[in-house]
């Protein structure tokens, strides 16, 4: 006699219960195989897409045209001394290409406008003591960095500052001191891994380090082109850029990167980021 439960007995003639584990369409092996094979197939498609759309390298990367060889960083943490020292005063009047180095003399006359320590008012943009238009911030051993009109300081430390145009161009200036006889080209190669850290700058493709004609109180200047993919958790940023190194007669060293994204527009925007390079090196060299 069945118990008097409310649910009643099972329906007579019901189908036999399925064997354990058979209540899903796929077996263990099939489920795992479907997922793993699917992931492998998608990965293969990703590789195919890279081959088809990547175009085989530099031709499609659209970096600076001078990217022809790779300058390997020499390792180490670089030669820049983080301790700030005194600074050469910029020449009061612009001098396009002075040939005689200027010795350090007095503290800088243009106070930083963005440094947290000072917070002094910015000088009049386009004033006579600033090449080009913009304002300056002072970092490290009194090095003045020109922030062109329309650019903003994105971050600043004691010896470095990052600036941005808000339109795809960025700059980063790092300062220190070294032996004045140091070659600017070696400053770039010895500090490359620290300046463009591999954790952020992946797929780094560098060009030759080229010496430039020094001017004013600068004794050595060099430049190097590069393209890279900036790593970000939300979206990576492909970019092209140049790294500049300048050594002044008093041993003050400036390393500066200018970058632009998308990389194919790097040269076309030289009028934008070029102000940062010209202005900052001009102030450093006293021109």
């Amino acid at each position: 006699m069945p118990p008097p439960y409310a649910w009643g007995p099972p329906v007579p003639g019901a189908p036999p219960p399925p064997p354990p584990g058979s209540l899903h369409r796929s077996s263990r092996g099939l489920t795992i195989a479907l997922v793993v094979v699917g992931v492998v197939a998608v990965g293969a498609l990703g590789a195919l897409a890279a081959v088809l759309f990547g175009g085989g390298g530099d031709d499609e990367t659209a970096g600076p045209p001078s990217l022809s060889s790779t300058a390997e960083p020499e390792g180490g943490s670089g030669i820049l001394d983080p301790e700030p020292i005194g600074s050469a005063e910029p020449l009061p009047e612009p001098a396009p290409e002075p040939s005689q180095p200027t010795a350090p003399s007095e503290p800088p006359t243009v106070e930083p406008t963005e440094a947290p320590q000072t917070q002094e008012p910015a000088p009049d943009p386009g004033g006579p003591d600033i090449p080009g238009n913009g304002r300056t911030v002072t970092v490290g051993p009194g090095v003045q960095v020109l922030v062109p009109v329309g650019w903003e300081v994105a971050g600043q430390g004691e010896s470095d500052v990052a600036v941005s145009s808000g339109d795809g161009s960025f700059g980063y200036v790092l300062t220190g001191v070294d032996d004045p006889s140091t070659d600017a080209a070696s400053v770039i190669t010895q500090n490359l891994s620290g300046l463009l850290p591999a954790d952020n700058y992946t797929q780094l493709d560098t060009g030759d380090v080229r010496p430039l004609e020094p001017f004013g109180s600068l004794v050595s200047v060099a430049v190097m082109d590069y393209t890279s993919l900036w790593v970000d958790a939300q979206a990576p940023i492909p970019l092209a850029g140049q790294v500049y190194a300048a050594v002044r007669s008093d041993g003050v060293v400036v390393l500066m990167t200018v970058e632009h994204t998308p990389p194919e527009d790097f040269e076309a925007t030289v009028g934008d980021w070029g102000q940062l390079v010209d202005g900052t090196l001009g102030l450093l060299g006293g021109s």
Binding site: P20, H24, R25, V42, V51, G54, A154, A235
Partner: protein
């Protein structure tokens, strides 16, 4: 033995009421197992049984192993520097597993192929459009400010990234979450998908599909850079790929799943645009905002990418527990209501069959296993079909629409 909650009669050996799932064990009080996976606790961080609620303990293991093996392959590809391979596979790992799951639990049969694929395609199209609008067409300059700020080693100026932060860590996640709800909500209105678990399933499907397409669009530079193999910075890439593969995909999926499940509501029939849905949609938006704010701000700290990954796991854990608590409450409350009204549910057991979780016999008319407390609503469609009526008879579907529950 009468149930203290719904007064239904149960066998003396029953540990749970077969009608409302109330624990009948002495001293059990409100402590009970998770009704969707009775071998687990309600507040346990168990990913597979949460986002794939129709799986049994055994089938959940299949997906666990499939995901582990696939993840190892993806991380291995990243470690070898094969970024196009790794990013593509990482973006689509969870959606692929979910597609197999939908097929496996027979939702595929109830939802025509066009419907299932439609969720993925529509979600993907929305992701494509939103990504292009935010990252290419309207706010490209603002996004690049993040990279500019990241170059300063001695600190960054929060003011300089305030606008990008508001756009990409607040506005974008909210807009995306609202859009991701659309395909799931449309499906949740259909009579055959009116259960809360169905809402959760299609919400997760929409969220993971959205995440996959967004990743492919935003990381397209990996495919167009001309570098099939990357040799440097791979440690950072492994963190990023794991974030894309697991955390981002599941944060999007679980957040959208919560909102769409709330749209479905408890019991049969969907609740629609209720205050409960709006609260959960707000919670989903908040979770997305919290995730991206944390990832963005932590990126400026040493080991920022890794910290962002840990933060993502924390947000994901909160979302997973939220789903489990919500489903648990909905299943039990709906069963109690049915029992109180003495109504039969289309999910009741009508023939002799067995619990897919513990393999003990289910009682006819049961909504819960009396041994382990597993909810009949949480079993696969394949199982449910075998529980319903005699061979050849259609299941006793009596769906109601528009806030019937």
């Amino acid at each position: 033995m009468p149930c203290p909650t719904c007064s239904s009669d149960n066998p003396e050996v029953a540990a749970y009421c077969h009608k409302c799932g109330t624990s009948l064990r002495a001293g059990a009080g409100t402590q009970r197992s998770y009704a969707v996976a009775s071998s687990e606790g309600v507040c346990q961080f168990a990913l597979i049984s949460t986002v794939m609620p129709h799986t049994s303990r055994e089938s959940a293991d299949n997906y666990r192993w499939a995901m582990i093996l696939s993840s190892v392959l993806v991380v291995g590809a990243t470690a070898l520097g094969l970024l196009p391979v790794a990013v593509a596979a990482a973006a689509l790992l969870v959606p692929l597993a979910y597609l197999v799951y939908i097929y496996d639990v027979n939702l595929w049969e109830d939802a025509p192929v066009a419907v299932v694929l439609g969720v993925f395609v529509v979600s993907g199209a929305l992701a494509l459009l939103v990504s292009l609008v935010f990252f290419d067409w309207v706010f490209a300059g603002q996004f690049q400010e993040f990279a500019a700020g990241g170059r300063a080693r001695s600190g960054f100026d929060l003011g300089s990234i305030l606008v990008p932060l508001l756009v990409f860590a607040v506005l974008l996640p909210v807009v995306s979450e609202v859009l991701r709800n659309l395909p799931g909500v449309v499906l949740a209105r259909m009579p055959q998908f009116d259960d809360m678990i169905d809402g959760l399933t299609f919400g997760v499907a929409a969220g993971t599909a959205y995440a996959a397409v967004e990743t492919l669009v935003l990381y397209r530079a990996v495919f167009t850079s001309g570098e099939l193999r990357t040799t440097e910075g791979l440690a950072g890439w492994i963190v990023v790929v794991v974030n894309l593969m697991v955390v981002k995909s599941l944060v999007y999926g679980t957040a959208t799943g919560i909102a769409v499940a709330a749209f479905s509501g408890k019991g049969e029939g969907y609740d629609g645009l209720t205050a409960f849905y709006l609260r959960n949609l707000g919670f989903a938006c908040l979770a997305n905002v919290a995730y991206w704010l944390g990832v963005r701000l932590l990126a400026y700290l040493p080991y920022g990418q890794a910290l962002g990954l840990l933060w993502g796991f924390l947000v994901l854990a909160v979302l997973v527990v939220r789903i489990r608590v919500m489903l648990q409450a909905a299943l039990l409350e709906a069963a109690v209501e049915d029992a109180a009204k003495a109504e039969s549910s289309s999910r009741d057991v009508f023939v002799e069959t067995f619990c897919p979780e513990c393999e003990n016999m289910l009682l006819s008319g049961a909504q819960f296993c009396i041994v382990c407390g597993e909810s009949v609503r949480a079993v696969s469609r394949q199982t449910r079909r075998q529980m319903a009526a005699s061979p050849g008879d259609p299941p006793p579907e009596q769906p109601t629409e528009g806030g019937a529950s």
